[in-house]
Amino acid sequence: MLKYTLIPLLPLLSFIINILFGRNFIKDKAHWIAVPAVAGSFILAVSAFMDVTAGNVVNINIYDWIVSGDFHVSIGFLIDQLTSIMLIVVTSISTLIFIYSIGYMHGDGGYYRFFAYLSLFVFSMLMLVMANNFLLLYFGWEAVGLCSYFLIGFWFHKKSAADAGKKAFIVNRFGDFGFGLGVILIFLTYGSIDYVQVFSNAGSVVGQTINILGTDYDLITVICLLLFCGAVGKSAQLPLHVWLPDAMEGPTPVSALIHAATMVTAGVFMVARCNPLFNLSHTAMNTVAIVGGLTAIFAATIGLVQNDIKRVIAYSTVSQLGYMFLALGVGAYSAGIFHLYTHAYFKALLFLGSGSVIHALHDEQNMQKMGGLKKYMPITYAVFIIATLSITGIPGLAGFFSKDEILYRAYLGGDTGKFLWLLGTVAALLTSFYSWRLIFLTFHGKFRGTHEQEHHLHESPKVITVPLMFLAVGAIFAGYVGIPPLLMEHGDRIGEFLAPVLGHPHSEGSHAEEMMVMAGSVLVALGGWFIAYRMYIKSPELPKKVGEMFKPVYNLLFNKYYVDELYSKTLVQPVIKASDKVVLGFIDIKIIEGIVNGVPALIGAFSRKFRQVQTGHLSNYGLAMALGALAIIGYMIFMK
């Protein structure tokens, strides 16, 4: 029990020590505390994984957290197959990125702060995946958002970073709003928010409805959609994807760890975790799949024309997350988690590689000002190629297996599935194109930056490249735990491992279909490479021409479909304007304060008039008195 508790507790300790003493005592030795802590977590996580493979699913309550009336929730851990995989992913990538950060953040004024926040993040993420009830999940959910906020805004002196941090947090709040309501509704429905109890009773409420504003809706569908709201926010799906590209304002290790490998996949994890609920609602599943598919293609199209190296990868992340939801939506939960797991490696690799590039170019992120870097940075170039091969789904690398699995499962999913498969395949084509475009623009051709920069070009130090190499190994071999049955009998070990939690996919197709899907995805991967090669190596003037030819489309994509502008114009600005002009300016100051100050003013005005009755002349008072006396006497005489 202590072992499992220590997994999240070690990073928490690292956070506490660093944040309290970092500024004055630890300073640039912060990694001496953070790295061992997270590495320790990794070791414990591996041991926990072993326990699970040995068949010991752990579900422990540590103490009562909130008790109120019939509401009761504990702080407790559930370590099953799904959790143990997530533990491995989170702690292994964290460890590598922590080590990478030693080099990358070297000399930064907030060095200790960086490691403190990262440790806090690891703690939160571990709480998120280890939670055994929805409220603790929500705790981790919000806490990772908090760390994301801190780390995006790490260089808070930049306005763009500060804005991006705030944006990320608030956009996430929209999703969490639904998530929180979902948690409440789950309790009201099942009388508990423990995973085990909820999932075992999941089917007991099928067919019940909930009345929302006079219309009846299916209860489970509502619950699932509310939960999915949270996932949409956290995993940057349409329409709440806007925060993730901006989040690239944070340091690159942060982008790699939080905004590629771990935190943004929390949504995927959560939906997979809740599969007993989602399985009961066809509508919710379709929503998940369609949102995922649309996001995949939507983000990929934006990625085609972006010039900021990190933003391209960011849109790629959004797109890949879309894939994962697509998988979940068609019921292939293990495929989604499988992709989550492989994606973590190659996407972290891409980010860290781009970090290496940015580091070499002294914080230049515009690809149009790069080029020809392969001869200066061979290791970085090599790992980039590996990651790109992996993400585009070239057979033999990690990405191929997971992506293929998703597309195949989609293909088997009936008419909707076919449509989703089409979306996925097109997105794969686009992915291949923009990934190769990135490589070609960055590493091939001639260097387009300043001479100053060219002079300083160099390969990054070992502390950066070694983690890259480790990740590259992951990006190649991580997929071999999920070899499709077509290629190897019982090759899909991860699927089988996860089956107790996530169940088996519902549909099985023929070998021919599987071959066709596989061939299709390989074909589009090569196609993407070919187009990119034609456009950026063979005839570098072509992109410009194409851009000119489809000017409106290019502008639309380049400006990310104007979603940010749309939100700003229709939501943010009106709310701020309304709160200033209408709520504060009119209702508060004019109406309420008007009444509050108006009543006394009215009384005052009346009194000012009325007090003139007091002339100050003695005889007037005397007259009034005499009249009063007369009135009384008159009454006594005549009325009695």
Partner: protein, 100 residues
């Protein structure tokens, strides 16, 4: 015998004259004197009642009224002087410090 009502009517008439003086005159000193006049008219009726009812109380009351009248005159006139010093007029319609 003089009937009691005669005294009372006399008292009423003198009192009314006092009231008239109090309400009509401008000179503050005469206003004061009107006040004394009213008190005296009351004294007349009290003494008359005392006599006709063969009770001493009316007369005792007259004593007290005279006492109070003396005190009132002393204080009132002192105020008058104090006031006049700051604001040299004793015309009632020119004094309106209490104007609202």
């Amino acid at each position: 015998m003089v009937p009691l009502s005669w005294y009372i009517v006399l008292s009423a008439i003198v009192f009314s004259i006092g009231v008239f003086g109090f309400l009509a005159r401008r000179n503050l000193i005469i206003v004061f004197m009107s006040l004394e006049l009213m008190l005296n008219s009351v004294n007349i009726s009290l003494a008359a009642f005392s006599h006709y009812l063969q009770s001493m109380r009316g007369q005792i009351l007259v004593f007290f009224i005279i006492t109070v009248a003396a005190a009132e005159a002393a204080i009132g006139l002192a105020i008058l002087i104090a006031f006049y010093r700051n604001n040299p007029t004793i015309k009632v319609d020119e004094i309106n410090l209490l104007k609202g």
